[in-house]
Symmetry: C2
DNA sequence: ATGGGGCTTCCCACCATGGGAAGGTCAACC
DNA sequence: GGTTGACCTTCCCATGGTGGGAAGCCCCAT
């Protein structure tokens, strides 16, 4: 199998397969004499596994960890569960943040008439010197440095 | 006011203030003879406004738009509200995605005993060839290309 | 033998942010 | 007046995953 076939079989672009190889998420593929990468069914299985893990919003580190556990037939399920629960906890934290943002902003928007007059509580709030501490992002800025792990939606 | 003072007064790092200037989110600051940037109370107000808008998870584009509306005293509040509601809608979409991920993963984790035995439904699911379509990320991958706008939590 | 589609590597861009180096400036203190 | 240390300047680099694209090689079918 060439990389293109492996890509369509696994749902991961050829570009990303090469990238995963370059960051040691997957071992270097075999090569033909001409230098083309070759893949077999097992490789596609691994790629699919990776795609699924990414679908749960996991960062590469976590995926790598999980692939390792998957390939170790004697892992205790305890370890796998711990990884999964960490991910769940981070997702929950992110959801809570976004919800706080959303609620605060929706409330402001609800208070805005949305007509032709310029007067607007949304802008008033954003410009307001006094309400600094109670804003959703204050917490965010304080507590969530470098969480990444959600970003764009895996693509 | 030097950039450092403006930074602590506004809650935006000096580094980011320079960056915002470089991408034309804010106009170039005045300079002393020695080349130091200078800021006044109005500038700090603008920076604070920007920080608040970012706290709602808005991407730079949206913030820029909002700053423009803020500075135009004759804007119709309709336009401001529309921007806010777009942001709310995107936050809701993101929340829905993350919730789908979280629920699916939590369910799997719930089915895993988490003991010393290797058997684990989480890994079984990730490796499962058949369940491709029903996974949370399938939707994600299909529908959310290039949404960005949440990323790390503004920092 | 020629064309088109695949493969290779390498570089660039995104977005918002932080880190750090190399060098200039300012203010305070002795 | 000189030294010190805190601040400022610009410039480059890294992050994380992903896409885009160029330049060049390879393979197969016509």
């Amino acid at each position: 199998m060439n990389i293109g076939e492996a890509a369509s079989a696994s749902g991961i672009t050829a570009k990303m397969i090469r990238y995963y190889e370059s960051v040691d998420l997957i071992p270097p593929a075999g090569r033909t004499e001409a230098g083309y990468r070759t893949y077999d069914g097992r490789d596609v299985g691994t790629l699919r596994f990776i795609r699924r893990a990414r679908d749960f919003g996991m960062p590469m580190d976590r995926v790598k960890l999980l692939v390792g556990l998957w390939q170790d037939k004697d892992r205790p399920s305890r370890e796998v569960k711990a990884v999964a629960l960490r991910q769940v906890a981070e997702l929950e934290a992110k959801i809570a943040e976004l919800t706080a943002m959303k609620d605060a902003l929706a409330e402001l928007a609800g208070a805005c008439r949305g007509d032709n007059r310029p007067d607007c509580p949304i802008l008033r709030d954003l410009a307001d010197v006094s309400s600094t501490a109670s804003h959703p992002g204050a917490v965010l800025r304080a507590g969530m440095r470098g969480q990444r792990f959600v970003g764009n939606g895996p693509a």
